[in-house]
């Protein structure tokens, strides 16, 4: 916290804003002046990108945040976050420098105006995107028996976003200590929200069973009223939904205010901050304003003096705390010989739940006696009651919860029932989970999402896909896909306990029943350039002088093994098989070292091979001067038909793989 004239910090380092009018006015005025400074800097071309000021909404933004008295209370905000942030942190220089892209910025220039993370304050630029995460953070606090709460700041425009409703529902069924605050200023960017909001705003909160209030920031009793609301949520152990009517005095960002003058005048006349100032003795107000003016000038000077943010070493990936070879890692108790993949995974989950209270397993229909759609979680909910959660059908919401739990220090392992549904989680992964570790040094998101993947069962176009090619291209997402030759339990335990970044853990449906047995497969030597490779090893079935190498992964391996057998017997070929488990970040150095000299290479995947994993491997090889012949065998970019007889003509078949490999020899 900056040395703010007239304000002290509490034990957690947050500004203490007393309930007295002079304090409230002083701080509100500071916020307004900061916003005005930022707009001025914007006009001077000194602001990086865009910004969204809270002019006119200062008191609304202050009211809830100042009422949070516990050190572990959380504030999640959105693009219009400056008032929240300043009330939470008192970091005026930090904010202005951040918006200006300077080293002294509170996030080092990485986040800019919208994306801030500071202790338990976190804002992000996707409408409603933090709401599920808030539920996760709140759930963690509930599990910790903490008195702290989570506040999620929303606008009335956010009420169009689906994820928000999933979050309200989740908060309700789990009784999460969370307060959703709708700052209702009647306008979403340039659109009047009377045309975008169906029905009643408060009724939304009530419909989900949340305690609901409606306040007005023009009411002089706003701050007391808000304090009461916060206390009710904290002590009542029910989630809340608070609507505060307010008005935006400034544009959405800059220059995009198309409201008529008459409306702007009315807003100006209503302005609660001005009204608050008017209620003070004039001398008091003037001296406050003078002090504030001087302070803001100091802030401006300090921020402007800070050099432009610069990478000492531009990052090649987000994995700064790459796992080192563990000296003694958690090991799963060995499973029996001759047990199938499903049993191994079940044991791994069992071990994870048993070895740490922080492990949470969540997903749809996991509880006993059903035990999950593919029975991977059978027996767990009975044994670990309260930590194996069957959720509503809310993939995006659950992903948010998983992110929140992991940020709060839990080890959530989420199950998505079919990998096809992972697309419902995409925004939470792409714009949230993988962004946090990359943007904010101190935020860790050690989550695991498991999903059964693949076809061959006739389940049809939306229950048969292998979507790894989409998710490997999400920067910062680790994608692991084991086979029945891999120690899948080891892979899952490593993903959960050893790797501190978001992991997508794919499992092929047809491998669940296969016996897990390495057979002739041995781990490939790792290369220290390959991030996380030792946690998720590549396997290889060697031949002395291979005529062709087939690379594959996941559920294709049994078919590839059959193909190799045929090729060796009928085509007199020596066939080497190489099977990575880590698809992203791809262990390029070790793969290239091994494949670089091969004369013929076939890569077989069940996913669409256009723009896929095989394409990435071949491109990497090409870059190092690969001179052999190579071919990709995958699924064409068409939906996977349901009839078994049609499905087997679309997915790679033994015949097609054999023919394609043999064609490498013509």
């Amino acid at each position: 916290m900056d040395k703010i004239p007239g304000f002290d910090a509490d034990v957690a380092g947050r500004p203490l804003i007393a309930l007295k009018p002079e304090s409230l006015y002083a701080y509100g005025d500071l916020i307004r002046r900061t916003e005005q400074l930022i707009l001025t800097q914007f006009g001077r071309g000194l602001v990086s990108g865009t910004t969204h000021t809270c002019l006119g909404q200062e008191l609304c933004q202050m009211a809830v945040v100042r009422a949070l008295t516990q050190a572990e209370d959380v504030v999640l905000s959105n693009h219009r976050n400056h008032g929240h942030f300043l009330s939470y942190s008192g970091e005026f220089t930090g904010l202005v420098a951040e918006v200006m892209g300077r080293e002294a910025g509170v996030c080092g220039g990485h986040g800019g105006s919208q994306h801030l993370a500071y202790r338990h304050f976190h804002s992000n630029g996707v409408q409603g995107g933090m709401s599920g995460i808030g539920v996760g953070l709140g759930l963690a606090r509930k599990l910790d028996n903490s008195e702290s709460i989570v506040v999620v700041m929303l606008g009335d425009g956010t009420l169009g976003q689906g994820l928000l409703y999933e979050s309200l529902n989740l908060a309700s069924i789990w009784d999460v200590p969370i307060l959703f605050v709708v700052e209702n200023n009647g306008i979403a960017q340039t659109t009047d929200t009377t045309s975008t909001i169906g029905g009643d705003i408060e009724a939304r909160g009530r419909a989900f069973g949340l305690s609901t209030w409606r306040l007005d920031d023009a009411n002089p009793l706003l701050f007391e009223q808000v304090e009461k609301v916060v206390e009710e949520v904290r002590h009542g152990h029910r989630p809340g939904f608070l609507v505060i009517d307010t008005k935006r005095l400034g544009p959405h960002s800059k220059g995009d205010d198309l409201r008529p003058d008459s409306e702007m005048q009315a807003i100006g006349q209503r302005d609660p901050l001005t009204a608050l100032g008017q209620r003070l003795p004039e001398q008091t107000r003037l001296s406050i304003e003078e002090l504030n003016q001087a302070f803001i000038q100091e802030i401006e000077a300090a921020a402007t003096a800070s050099p432009e943010a610069c990478f000492a070493d531009p990052p090649r990936h987000i994995f700064t705390c790459a796992a080192v070879e563990p000296e003694c890692s958690e090991t799963t108790p060995p499973a029996g010989q001759g047990e199938n993949v499903r049993t191994h995974l079940n044991r791994a989950l069992h071990h994870l739940l048993e070895s740490s209270d922080k492990t949470i397993v969540l997903g749809e229909d996991l509880h006993d006696p059903y035990g999950g759609a593919f029975k991977v979680t059978a027996g767990l909910s009975s044994k670990f009651s309260g930590r194996v959660l069957s959720t509503p059908i809310s993939e995006a919401g659950i992903t948010g919860v998983t992110i929140g739990l992991s940020v709060a220090g839990y080890r959530p392992v989420m199950e998505v029932m079919f990998a096809d549904f992972l697309t419902l989680c995409m925004d939470q992964l792409y714009n949230h989970a993988v962004k946090f570790p990359g943007v904010f040094r101190d935020v860790e998101v050690p989550l695991v999402i498991r999903a059964p993947s693949g076809g061959g069962r006739g389940y049809g176009p939306t229950h048969s896909q292998s979507p790894e090619n989409i998710f490997t291209s999400v920067p910062g997402l680790t994608v692991v896909f084991g086979s029945h030759r891999h120690d899948v339990a080891g892979l899952l335990v490593n993903a959960t306990t050893e790797w501190r970044y978001p992991v997508l853990f794919l499992e092929h449906k047809l491998l669940y029943g296969q016996i897990q047995d390495p057979g002739e497969f041995l781990p490939l030597d790792t290369n220290s350039d390959d991030v996380a490779a030792h946690l998720f090893p590549t396997l290889v079935r060697r031949r002395d002088r291979p005529d062709v190498t087939i690379l594959t992964y996941g559920g294709m391996l049994p078919m590839v093994e059959k193909v190799a057998e045929y090729l060796e017997e009928e085509e007199e070929l020596e066939v080497e098989i190489i099977v990575p488990a880590l698809l992203s970040p791809l262990p390029k150095a070790s793969l290239i070292a091994h494949l670089g000299d091969s004369t013929r290479l076939a890569i077989v995947e069940e996913a669409h091979d256009d723009f896929g994993v095989s394409a990435e491997i071949l491109a990497s090889l090409m870059e190092t001067g690969y001179r052999g012949r190579a071919i990709r065998i995958g699924t064409p970019p068409v939906p996977i038909s349901s009839a078994r007889s049609l499905e087997c003509q679309i997915l790679p078949s033994e015949e097609r793989i054999i023919n394609e490999v043999v064609s490498l020899f013509n």
């Binding site: 005529d547 090729l567 007199e572 070929l573 054999i658 020899f665």
Partner: protein
């Protein structure tokens, strides 16, 4: 009418079940609810019951067989002697992985490409052309498809012999050994081989070869290649010696492919210079040299080891004073050059010939001409 009994779907995750028991057979009567079979999945043993009264027409599965869920396992008819329908699937049968008989294996294809061979020109032992077939072809001494085939029959016939009484061990023939057996077998079974020889003074040839060597700056005497070349030229003038017999008819070759024996280690190769008659002497010597080099390196190209129309053999290197060579398949004449028994003594020039084509007189004339180098 016949009613199918389907392999039941017990749980969605199991595509295949095991037939544990079949309690009826064709001809039995069943009543609705009677157990007719038992199947086992990952999890449990489930009875299969008759869904109607009737007669078992046909049972399509066996105990201990793994069957696909949804397949027909049995037919039950309303009467005991109804025909059982054939189920016709419109799904194209999986592309047969049986290949046409000449389709080479992938590894064999690599070899074909490497040696620029055509699969069609290579005989194969099994259904498909294999690496072994190609290696045998490449190493084979002038074997053509027909010869190897013929020889195969001969060799196979030998399978009825008793093993010798003295202790020993059986081993298969190598490709080269195979080729040798094919050659001598053709000589025995097809040609009517006779032999002639005459003595001569080698001096004229030695002088001729020395002069040639000096003119062309050769280090070694090209005597034998020059003598072989003379034979090529003679063949142009006397087409009869460049002829063979096939199926009772004379086969007159359009070109002279000169076969020249080369011993490399334990292997005797008949190296071939194709179209030797189209070359001048220098070209021929160079071509022969190259072919011999390939033979030394055991890297003979197929066209360098097949198709001889005329042969030349020398054992002078080993001081052999007389040898009666085996005729290469489909040749009528193989000249045999030997070393003079001692200094200053006459050398012997001989020839094996196929008496079906050539007479002693023909051959004598050739040898006579051959004992003299060409007019300078």
């Amino acid at each position: 009418m016949p009613h199918p009994v389907y392999v039941p779907c017990v749980n969605i995750n199991d595509d295949i079940v095991l037939i544990v028991d079949v309690t009826v057979s064709a001809g039995d009567t069943v009543k609705t609810g009677d157990m007719i079979a038992e199947v086992e999945t990952d999890k449990a043993v489930i009875p299969v019951e008759a869904e109607q009264d009737g007669y078992v027409l046909k049972v399509l599965c066996d105990v201990e067989e793994r069957v696909k869920v949804g397949a027909v396992m049995m037919w039950i008819g309303d009467s005991p002697d109804e025909p059982v329908p054939e189920l016709v699937s419109k799904v194209p049968a999986e592309e047969s992985s049986g290949k046409s008989s000449l389709q080479p294996t992938a590894k064999a294809q690599v070899l074909l490409d490497k040696h620029k061979l055509d699969a069609g020109q290579i005989p194969h032992q099994g259904e498909r052309l294999t690496v072994r077939d190609i290696e045998a072809f490449i190493a084979g001494e002038g074997s053509t498809a027909a010869i190897v085939k013929a020889a195969q029959v001969d060799i196979q016939q030998g399978g009825e012999e008793l093993l010798p009484g003295t202790p020993g061990s059986l081993r298969s023939l190598s490709a080269e050994e195979h080729g040798m057996v094919s050659t001598v077998t053709w000589h025995r079974d097809h040609a009517v081989a006779a032999y002639l020889e005459m003595t001569y003074d080698q001096q004229a040839w030695e002088d001729y070869a020395a002069a040639f060597a000096e003119r062309h700056k050769f280090m070694l005497s090209p005597l034998l290649p020059l003598m072989a070349y003379r034979l090529v030229k003679l063949a142009r003038d006397i087409p009869k010696i460049n002829t063979t017999l096939v199926n009772g008819q004379k086969y007159l070759y359009d070109q002279v492919n000169l076969g020249f024996t080369v011993q490399v280690g334990e292997t005797l190769y008949l190296t071939v210079v194709q179209q030797a008659d189209a070359m001048d002497d220098r070209q021929f010597i160079d071509a022969l040299g190259e072919v011999q080099r390939h033979a030394m390196a055991k890297k003979l190209r197929p066209d360098e080891s097949i198709g001889a129309t005329l042969g030349f053999s020398s054992m002078a290197r080993w001081n052999v004073s007389r040898h009666v060579p085996v005729l290469a398949p489909y040749t009528a004449l193989m000249v045999a050059h030997s070393a003079p028994p001692g200094d200053g003594q006459s050398a012997v020039l001989g020839a094996s010939y196929d008496h079906r084509i050539l007479s002693g007189n023909d051959v004598a004339g050739v040898l006579q001409a051959l004992t003299q180098p060409p007019e300078v």
